[in-house]
């Protein structure tokens, strides 16, 4: 089983990211999947987490996710207030949307990748919404989902015009992440 935790702020689309990733896996990727928000009320700008589980058999576990394999951070300012590494499995992957290498304490067993998804989103969408880019980036970095599956899921969840532009963004992010995934993670640098 693979467990993913998504960190974002209310309004940034972390819950939708968890869903798009699950949909891509479950309907277009040959996996079983389950996704859910951190249960409760959400406020714009406040920290939000969402979760996706993938497995090659039906998922029956209904408990919360405490030890993710992957952590995706949509907003690097969360690093100041949230321990995004909580429960992360040894050898786990962290993917952060940021333009510069963040300063943070991390275990040597953790692989951290950074991607400036905000810059990409501004170029392609003209707005700094990065959820689809980060979905594609996780797919690309880990290789667990094809770009095609991600594109189909985006098309199924978003309205046509939004979907077209987000698919263009996802392609850029996926290609960048493919290269990223084949490189040494930044945690190994220092």
């Amino acid at each position: 089983m693979l467990q993913i935790r998504w960190h974002g702020r209310g309004g940034q689309g972390a819950v939708t990211a968890a869903r798009i990733f699950g949909l891509a896996a479950a309907v277009y990727g040959g996996w079983y999947a389950q996704s859910f928000p951190s249960f409760g009320t959400e406020r714009r700008g406040a920290p939000v987490t969402a979760f996706t589980r993938l497995d090659d058999r039906p998922i029956r576990d209904r408990s919360q996710i405490y030890s993710p394999d992957y952590v995706v951070v949509l907003d690097a300012t969360l690093l100041e207030s949230t321990d995004i590494f909580t429960g992360l499995k040894p050898g786990g992957i962290v993917l952060i949307n940021t333009g510069r290498e963040p300063v943070m304490a991390r275990s040597p067993e953790t692989r951290v990748y950074i991607l400036d998804a905000t810059r990409l989103a501004l170029e392609v969408l003209d707005t700094p919404i990065v959820n689809t880019a980060m979905v594609a980036a996780l797919a690309g970095t880990t290789g667990i989902l094809s770009l095609e599956a991600v594109e189909k899921a985006i098309a199924a969840v978003l309205s046509r015009d939004l979907a077209t532009r987000n698919i263009a963004l996802a392609r850029r992010a996926y290609d960048l992440a493919k290269v990223l995934g084949s490189k040494e993670a930044i945690a190994c640098d220092g």
Binding site: G22, A26, Q34, F36, F39, R60, R62, Q64
Partner: protein
């Protein structure tokens, strides 16, 4: 069609597939997205139904009641305080033998205020004459709503049905759902055409006043119909299985109960997590099993006796409490087994209140505690088993 839906979307899909004709509801978390989705279907023309906007849950159920006696297929949904506010109307609907279907996205009751899941809201409506079916997955939520219409309208039942799904854990969790095609649903579920309905050309009186001479007979008939529903729920599920190749055990859903020394009894989505724990303990050689109670009312006494009589210890996990006594399900399971000559020890555990997560480790802990008691019983050393409250 293989879709990726949360429990609320699965319920909305079922309501549309059932060709429901009237919907009246008042929003409340975590139910709201069910009726929001239905409103979308009606607005975009993909569902032909009247959506009645109302000022409260009490009015919602009153409107549904009125619509249903005109012979239309009706749906509403609620949670928690909203269900509590419907309490008076619940009795009108069941007493008048109106077969409407309501989804309850289970949520704890205030105070203290909470929006998260437990079963207190629906369990507190145990004695209202409604059938209550608790589901484990989004797929089962969809399928049970379709079954519910057929059970409710069965001429020997004529009772309303609550389809209960755990708030958030099911209502807001997406997973794979096979959405059946309209043609198969139409074959399974014909239009609702009751024998008696409000019709100016054929006048009848509904919801009459009765004296002490007539009232007991009405209540007796209601009780007989609810007892009959046990058979009908199973029959409808066999019919459902024939049409859709899926089934859920009817009234109870036993998992490795046949040779189990310890059986855990739960309602709702916790069963999924418990299955993982049972598999894990079975791999370690422990004789444990799970019984998911699907029908809380009518209460399947016979099926429970058959499934639990061989166990040494039965652990009942309640997501509710009858304050001043114990978990409601624990009391009911004890009563169901009372007449057995050889009966298992039954102990209640209280957990998952107000959305508290029920983790595998906790369920494994309950099993281990009970297995220890079984070992002591076998050795003749005697042991006292006390349940506990997850705090």
């Amino acid at each position: 069609m293989r879709a990726y839906l949360n429990g609320n979307e699965a319920v909305a899909a079922a309501v549309k597939l059932a060709r429901t004709e009237v919907v009246a509801a008042y929003p409340i978390t975590p139910q709201s997205t069910i009726v929001e989705k239905i409103a979308e279907y009606i607005a975009d023309g993909s569902m032909e139904a009247d959506y009645i906007r109302v000022e409260s849950e009490h009015a919602a159920l009153a409107a549904c009641y009125g619509a249903a006696v005109t012979g239309t297929r009706v749906f509403t949904a609620t949670s928690s305080q909203g269900l509590a506010y419907m309490f008076e109307m619940l009795h009108y609907v069941s007493g008048c033998r109106v077969p409407l279907v309501m989804a309850v996205a289970n949520r704890g009751l205030a105070a203290p205020w909470t929006i998260w899941a437990d079963h207190q809201d629906a369990v507190a409506c145990r004695d209202t004459g409604w059938i209550q079916l608790y589901v484990e997955t989004a797929q089962e939520a969809l399928d049970t709503c379709l079954q519910a219409y057929k059970i409710a309208a069965h001429p020997e039942v004529l009772a309303p049905v609550m389809v209960c799904l755990d708030g958030y854990v099911l209502s807001h969790t997406e997973e794979i759902v096979e959405v059946p095609d309209q043609e198969t649903v139409d074959r399974f579920l014909p239009p609702y055409r009751p024998e008696y309905s409000v019709d100016t050309r054929r006048p009848y009186v509904f919801g009459v006043g009765t004296g002490p001479d007539l009232y007991p007979a009405f209540k007796y008939n209601q009780q007989q119909a609810m007892l009959k529903a046990k058979e009908v729920i199973k029959e409808v599920e066999r019919d459902f299985q024939a049409h859709f190749q899926r089934s859920y055990g009817g009234l109870v859903d036993p998992y490795y109960c046949h040779d189990a020394a310890v059986v855990l009894v739960v309602m709702g989505a916790t069963a999924g997590t418990a299955r993982e724990v049972v598999d894990e303990l079975r791999r370690q050689g422990e004789a444990v099993g799970l019984l998911r109670l699907r029908s809380f009312r009518p209460f399947p006494v016979e099926d429970l006796r058959a499934a639990l009589s061989g166990a040494g210890v039965v652990a009942v996990l309640d997501r509710d409490c009858s304050f001043g006594y114990e978990g409601v399900l624990a009391t009911e399971i004890k009563a169901a087994l009372y007449d057995l000559r050889e009966k298992p020890l039954v102990t209640g555990f209280t957990g998952g209140l107000g959305g508290r997560d029920i983790r595998r480790e906790e369920l494994a802990g309950i099993f281990h505690r009970c297995l220890e008691v079984v070992r002591c019983q076998d050795e003749g050393t005697g042991a006292v088993l006390n349940g506990y409250w997850q705090k």
